[in-house]
């Protein structure tokens, strides 16, 4: 089908965006883009050819064994292991590249940190398709590594300190997602200190030196105060930070050395030789000293992310690249003219590619929940500066244009819209969406800044620095405002709330009591009593998931420290406390609410058919649900078709939705994190609607066990929003997006044909105006038509590069499960 269209214009006319991009991008970008190994798992399995690296885990284990008898505290030992890995791992430089660095030893490998969790190590051992050949040899090496770390990994160490009853319920997989680990989740960064602060690692090391010297002098004074006692721990932490930062500088210099060796001994092309010498110069400069150019700035940022991934498993990439790198674009492109805009776009494209390649071995639940991607690298663009002025710059445009050229599914962008954003920038956003990338998602900046102040008390200038800590949640990047680790454990499979109302908290799928023992549902005599049971179940599940996180966060500074992350965080460099220490953090916790809307639709169905119309009793409904609606199809269809559904501007169900959200919001202020701050909810799903399809029993909205759940956030059920896009927006606009929760994901599908050209842009802009006026905090779009998606299901080989928005992330359509594909196709295409 592609032969017919030859020119870029013809390809774009036919919406064959991948093939058009291939013709438009530079030879370098084309080579590097096609060099990417797709590392996101498909159906929980890694792609053929992608292998787990065994070098790093061996280096780490070797050093751990060496240090076993050392009297050093754990934080120091950990820092030495980190340094040993960076000093000794294999590094590589890909042909044509200008940016370097990777978290494993070869391009087709994925990183594996054996010190995180024994259960993860067991998964590696039992995943032969991901092991290097010969498999028996690999398994011997892995067996040695996993045996060493059994009982010593973070999770093994922390488990005895957690409530075992809670953890049994959490690890059942029924209601939660993730484990409470400070080195396994979504790690924020103090970018205001290290990036916009224009500070290199050498400057931080000098500061650490000074702190250690002062503390050392103090502990030898003739005194014995509490302050002195604390200084011993602080000196250990400072020294561990130093060890890590010095190792990072040495590691970068290894790249500089390799680039020079290639240039001076192997490379025959003069232009490439100069590029390699340029790489050498860049890596000698950063991270030791602050960047001076766009290439140095991007390399610095990339190194920071990779070092952090040497220290921890990072499921996200919270960053704001246009804000950090914009000043260097301005200097290189606009002022000094040492780069053209096109060259800056090429660098931005390579930066996206370098990020797209990164993967770390993750547990099966994470691989299944993040179909087709390595993690939620949602990069934040746009927004305002600390003084409230528009932060968009040349790099915003360069990144949006680069995204259309390289068309990676991960990282994606989320754009902080505000009233001062220019038409030029809005058009670049629109073109990315129209060309089928599914990103940027659009975020309402004024609303989310107010939300950050409301929920967590961030001062306005700090709130204005916010980035996406994962798919959706805003988090400042400031000294006390950034969150060093968001533990995915606080993720609730909320459809279980309404399910447990009907089973008094007993989980019929897992055969254990997980929820609260609320009264038998058939004894509930009116809707208020049903709602009361719902509230009790909601509070029980939220608490169950939050408690282990609170406990793990308070244990983290001593049991699972982060000396590298501490070393790039002002609060730790200043205080000598680990970055996770609650005493130096303001707190930015949130509960991710998977499968939320099912509650509103189910409660509305119960209210209407059981209590208003008295067509069925609760006992009859429970019996039908227990039978998974078998033999009750007419009754099931009644609950599907003849009850109000969220997303149609119908106050009957919308009021129930608001009531549920406000009950949750009230409780969010009662449960506290170790910083004493709130736990607001954030409805969104990643691929949880599919992951949990076989976990959630039958529901009163007519759903059967096994059916896909709704696609999440506050998105209406697929195909259930029958009254058009304005009705969807009106329903969503009834929510107070500042005080009802931390953020609310909204998926929408639009027609690419309808939105073609300038007229399409104007229609989309009018839609966005309505969205903004209603105070909605988020919306994201799929703009790929059903014909293309169905053709991609039929002939996946011809549609390898079709990208769709799944939930808080994008993925290649062919890399997601059939159930998820069908779920996306079922979403209503809204005509504007």
């Amino acid at each position: 089908m592609y032969e017919a269209a030859k020119t870029i214009e013809e390809l774009e006319e036919k919406q064959q965006w991948w093939w058009a991009a291939e013709k438009k991008r530079s030879k370098r970008l084309d080579y590097l883009r096609k060099a990417i190994w797709k590392k996101g798992a498909v159906g929980g399995l890694y792609n053929p050819g992608v292998k787990v690296e065994l070098e790093r885990p061996q280096l780490q284990t070797q050093k751990a064994r060496e240090l076993e008898m050392s009297p050093d505290p754990w934080v120091m030992k950990f820092a030495h292991m980190f340094a040993h890995v960076l000093d000794n791992k294999t590094i590589f430089i890909t042909d044509h590249s200008q940016l370097v660095g990777y978290n494993a030893d070869l391009p087709n490998t994925i990183g594996w940190d054996p010190s995180i969790a024994s259960i993860l190590n067991e998964e590696v051992f039992n995943d032969p398709s991901s092991l290097p050949e010969p498999i028996e040899e690999s398994q011997k090496i892995i067996a040695d590594i996993k045996n060493y770390w059994a009982g010593k990994s973070d999770l093994d160490k922390i488990m005895p300190y957690l409530d075992l009853d809670d953890m049994m319920k959490v690890l059942s997989g029924a209601v939660g997602w993730g484990v409470p680990l400070a080195r396994g989740g979504y790690s924020g960064k103090d970018y205001e200190y290290i990036m916009t602060g224009k500070r290199g690692f050498e400057e931080v090391i000098a500061e650490l030196d000074k702190n250690i010297d002062e503390a050392d002098a103090k502990v030898h004074e003739p005194a014995a105060s509490q302050e002195i006692m604390e200084l011993y721990d602080k000196m250990n932490n400072w020294e561990a930070m130093q060890i890590c930062l010095e190792a990072c500088i040495r590691h970068a210099k290894r790249y500089a050395r390799l680039a020079r060796i290639i240039a001076e001994n192997f490379e025959t092309d003069e232009k490439r030789k100069q590029e390699l010498l340029q790489i050498a110069e860049v890596c000698e400069r950063v991270p030791a000293q602050p960047p001076r150019t766009l290439q140095e700035s991007l390399q610095y940022d990339l190194f920071i992310q990779l070092f952090s991934r040497t220290e921890a498993i990072e499921g996200a990439w919270p960053a704001r690249p246009d804000y950090y790198h914009g000043p260097y674009y301005q200097k290189d492109v606009v002022e000094d003219k040492r780069l053209t805009h096109e060259e800056a776009v090429e660098l931005a494209g390579e930066f996206l590619i370098r990020a797209a390649e990164v993967e770390q071995y993750k547990p099966k639940f994470a691989r299944e929940g993040l179909q087709g991607i390595s993690g939620t690298w949602v990069w934040t663009l746009g927004g305002v500066n600390k003084d409230g002025s528009d932060a968009c710059n040349g790099m915003t445009i360069a990144l949006l244009q680069a995204a259309r050229l390289v068309r990676v599914a991960n990282p994606t962008f989320a754009f902080r819209w505000h009233p001062k954003v220019s038409d030029e920038v809005m058009k670049e956003c629109f073109e990315c969406i129209r060309q089928g990338l599914g990103y940027p998602s659009m975020r309402n900046d004024p609303i989310l800044i107010a939300n950050a102040m409301n929920w967590h008390g961030h001062p306005i200038d700090e709130a204005r620095t916010w980035v996406h800590q994962a798919c959706m949640s805003p988090a400042p990047t400031t000294k006390h405002g950034f969150q060093p680790m968001r533990m995915a454990n606080a993720t609730v499979n909320c459809a279980k709330i309404i399910e447990y109302v009907f089973s008094s908290g007993f989980d019929n799928v897992f055969n254990i009591q997980i929820g609260a023992e609320t009264p038998p549902v058939e004894d509930l005599t009116d809707f208020e009593k049903v709602y009361e049971a719902w509230e009790t179940q909601m509070k029980t599940l939220f608490s169950l998931l939050v408690r282990p996180v609170n406990r793990a966060r308070s244990l983290a500074p001593t049991m699972t420290p982060r000396p590298f992350l501490s070393g790039i965080s002002e609060r730790s460099v200043e205080s000598g406390k680990d970055v996770c220490d609650p005493s130096v953090s303001r707190g930015n916790s949130w509960i991710t609410a998977f499968t939320w809307v099912e509650n509103a639709d189910s409660l509305a169905a119960v209210k209407k058919l059981v209590f208003d119309e008295k067509k069925y009793t609760l006992a009859e409904l429970k019996e039908a649900m227990d039978a998974n609606w078998e033999g009750k199809e007419d009754m099931r269809l009644d609950f599907v078709k003849n009850t109000p559904k969220w997303g149609n501007d119908d106050d009957y169900v919308d009021d129930i939705m608001l009531r549920c959200l406000r009950s949750a919001a009230k409780f969010s202020r009662e449960i506290k994190d170790p910083m004493g701050n709130n736990w607001p909810i954030l409805p969104e799903n990643v691929s949880g609607n599919i992951h949990y399809a076989n976990v959630v029993g039958a529901l009163p909205n007519g759903r059967r066990l096994g059916d896909a759940l709704y696609d999440g956030g506050i998105s209406p059920g697929p195909g259930l929003d029958k009254k058009g896009p304005t009705a969807v927006l009106k329903s969503c606009g009834k929510i107070d997006h500042i005080s009802d929760g931390r953020a609310f994901l909204l998926n929408q599908r639009l027609s690419p044909t309808q939105l073609a050209g300038e007229k399409g842009f104007q229609m989309w802009k009018a839609y966005m105006r309505a969205w903004a006026d209603l105070g909605i905090d988020h919306v994201q779009f799929n703009m790929v038509d059903d014909t293309t998606l169905r053709a991609a299901q039929k002939d996946p080989e011809d549609y390898q590069e079709v990208i769709v928005r799944v939930a808080g992330y994008s993925a290649h359509f062919v890399d997601i499960s059939r159930k998820t594909q069908d779920n996306i196709i079922q979403r209503t295409i809204q005509g504007l």
């Binding site: 080579y31 096609k34 990417i36 000093d87 294999t90 590589f92 042909d95 087709n108 060796i261």
Partner: protein, 54 residues
């Protein structure tokens, strides 16, 4: 016994000539690249399949 120092792929460090990198050309189905792995000059290379005498 062959040692790394005698190999074409060994590049000694200026400051510490007893240490260096084994630099190789690599290729996989998607890309070509150079790798570097730290080795010592006197490291045994007798069983190294890629050893190339200088």
């Amino acid at each position: 016994m062959a040692v790394c120092n005698e190999c074409k792929r060994f590049f000694a460090q200026d400051e510490q000539p007893e240490k260096g990198d084994c630099v190789r050309r690599g290729e996989d189905p998607r890309q070509a690249f150079y790798t570097a792995r730290p080795v010592t000059a006197e490291q045994d290379a007798s069983s190294c399949p890629d050893f190339q005498k200088k």
